[in-house]
Amino acid sequence: MRENHGGAGPLLEVRNVSLQFGGIAALTDVNLTVHPGELMSVIGPNGAGKTSLFNCITGLYRPTAGDIFFGGRRINGLTADRIAALGIARTFQNIELFSHMTTLDNLLLGRHLHMRAGFFDAAFATRRWWRNEVAQRRRVEEIMDMLDLQSVRHRRVASLPYGMQKLVEVGRALATEPRLLLLDEPSAGMTEEEKADLVFTIRDVQEELGIAVVLGGDDLRMVMEISQRIVVLDRGRVIADDVPAVVQKDPKVIEAYLGEEAMDPARGA
């Protein structure tokens, strides 16, 4: 399933993507590139189209125009699960966990793609299924260790504190072993302490696992701090794409944010 992205070509390429709902344009002619192992951010005022963009990339929405390439392969038009199999994982702005399952099961679901046992193996609990299941559990164990989730292993996720739930969602995404991880407002609703932990985790993921990470518009201070590159969306259009220091001073960006309020680095976007 997994293709090798030989060389230094871009991992993800969004080309001239537009998305319309009825007459309303959510995205207009968006271009975007993510390189392997990169940590970048997509920010913008509320309703700028970050989530729509993520939804297009992960196959939940179908772009009205334009193409999306992942590892050199065109992925728009594929179903979300096929795209996940190619190596894109994500979290959601409003947590989308399997609320009746335990932490363990949520993470195990992330391993779904890696199960090499079929329906009948499962139904009759064959040795093949058993071997597979144990292998997946071992992998999940590693992720739980890394994210410090062992203490809530058997808790139903609905009963976990908010920040913890966000973390479980990240864990589930990581369990799929993606090459690209999209985090949609991961720190929203977190305490400062949890945010600091999150920055740590994101860096770990990016540096140790070598996964490219795209942060969806979030706490601006955090974004400026950790991103290697920032893309700014405004009303569905890309208005800036550069390193944080340049973006911060871009008058178009300031103006876009001024639409609501003066650019305040402490404020969530």
Partner: protein
């Protein structure tokens, strides 16, 4: 590392700990002894209990686990019953399979498989439809199956009905209540085991994931089309197998047996017992079937009692009987000695 693996396997095991094993053995022993302790017509009721347990477990996989509603499950039961009956009649006539030790267990499989095919057909539109819209498609399916059976005597025997030959193991006829009881409950145990296996595996996880958040399931790599259709197929298989057993136990089939009320009763069993748990489905099927058959003396009050219980359970115990049982267990555990 080996220790770790043992811990996983311990976690994955269906029956954990000595007490659970003892309980299970006692339960199976009681099940095996029951037909020798009860008069025949009670054994007949228990056969229906077993049949409804199978339907309820299967329906629960669809409704409780995958979150897809079916108001036409009786259609699958009917398809299973008629497919099995035709199979039994054909093999009996040809004598081929009978020589292999009797087609009775194969009939159960054929009934299930035939229903599963229709399960896929009904499941396909389910991919696009939500909630009440899916409800009406399944409802329409159930009504259509009955209507077609009524008007297609070649398949159903029409309203005269169709008599079902008794199951035979070689030349040994298994027509008595007791032998049917063992047949039915062996299938119940086997199919419960499969259901338990499925629900603790990646398949079961995918089902629950679709129910809890289909979007998240999809972006995590669950093929919605496949698993939604699979849930329908598996659920229909259970219903079809139960239909085959129904044919054996009733030894007579007639299209009016497969009406909308039955579909609602099946759903009530699942909900009253507890959605999304296999023991819950079993509880519900046992309780409501016993009520239905046991309260013949209550005469015309039965619908009021039955409906009242359903409302009572929904109002007091939305998690169903099994949820209540878990709470009682917890309460007893924490009882200060």
């Amino acid at each position: 590392m080996t220790q770790l693996i043992q811990r996983y396997e311990e976690e994955m095991a269906l029956v954990r700990g000595g007490a659970a094993w003892t309980g299970l053995v006692l339960l199976l022993g009681a099940l095996a002894a029951l037909p020798w302790l009860l008069p025949g017509y009670y054994v007949y009721i228990l056969n229906f209990v077993g049949i409804n347990v199978i339907v309820a477990i299967g329906l629960n996989l669809l409704v409780g686990y995958t979150g897809q509603i079916s108001l036409g499950h009786v259609g699958f039961v009917a398809i299973g019953a008629y497919a099995a009956t035709h199979f039994i009649r054909a093999t009996e006539a040809s004598g081929v399979v009978a020589a292999l030790g009797g087609p009775f267990w194969m009939a159960v499989f054929i009934g299930g498989a035939a229903a599963a095919v229709f399960g896929v057909l009904v499941g396909l539109p389910a991919i696009r439809l939500e909630g009440p819209y899916l409800t009406i498609v399944t409802l329409g399916f159930g009504l259509a199956v009955q209507q077609i059976l009524i008007n297609w005597p070649a398949v159903s025997g029409g309203r005269i009905g169709m008599f079902v030959p008794q199951p035979a193991l070689g030349s040994f006829v298994l027509g008595s209540d007791r032998s049917l009881y063992y047949l039915v409950w062996t299938v119940v145990i086997g199919m419960s085991l499969v259901a338990f296996n499925l629900t603790r595996s990646h398949v079961g996880r995918a089902f629950i994931a679709i129910r809890d958040s289909d979007i998240a399931a999809e972006v995590t790599g669950v093929n919605l089309k496949y698993y939604k259709t699979l849930a329908f197929a598996v659920s229909a298989f259970y219903a079809g197998a139960a239909g085959a057993l129904l044919a054996y136990v009733m030894q007579y089939l007639e299209p009016t047996m497969f009406n909308l009320y039955e579909s609602i009763y099946y759903l009530a069993m699942v909900v009253v017992g507890g959605l999304g748990t296999i023991p819950g489905a079993m509880f519900g099927a046992v309780l409501l079937t016993l009520l239905q058959y046991g309260l013949s003396h209550a005469q015309e009050y039965l619908p009021v009692i039955y409906g009242g219980i359903v409302i009572l359970v929904m109002a007091l115990e939305p998690m169903g009987l099994y949820g209540r049982w878990l709470k009682i267990k917890l309460w007893m555990k924490t009882w200060p000695m």
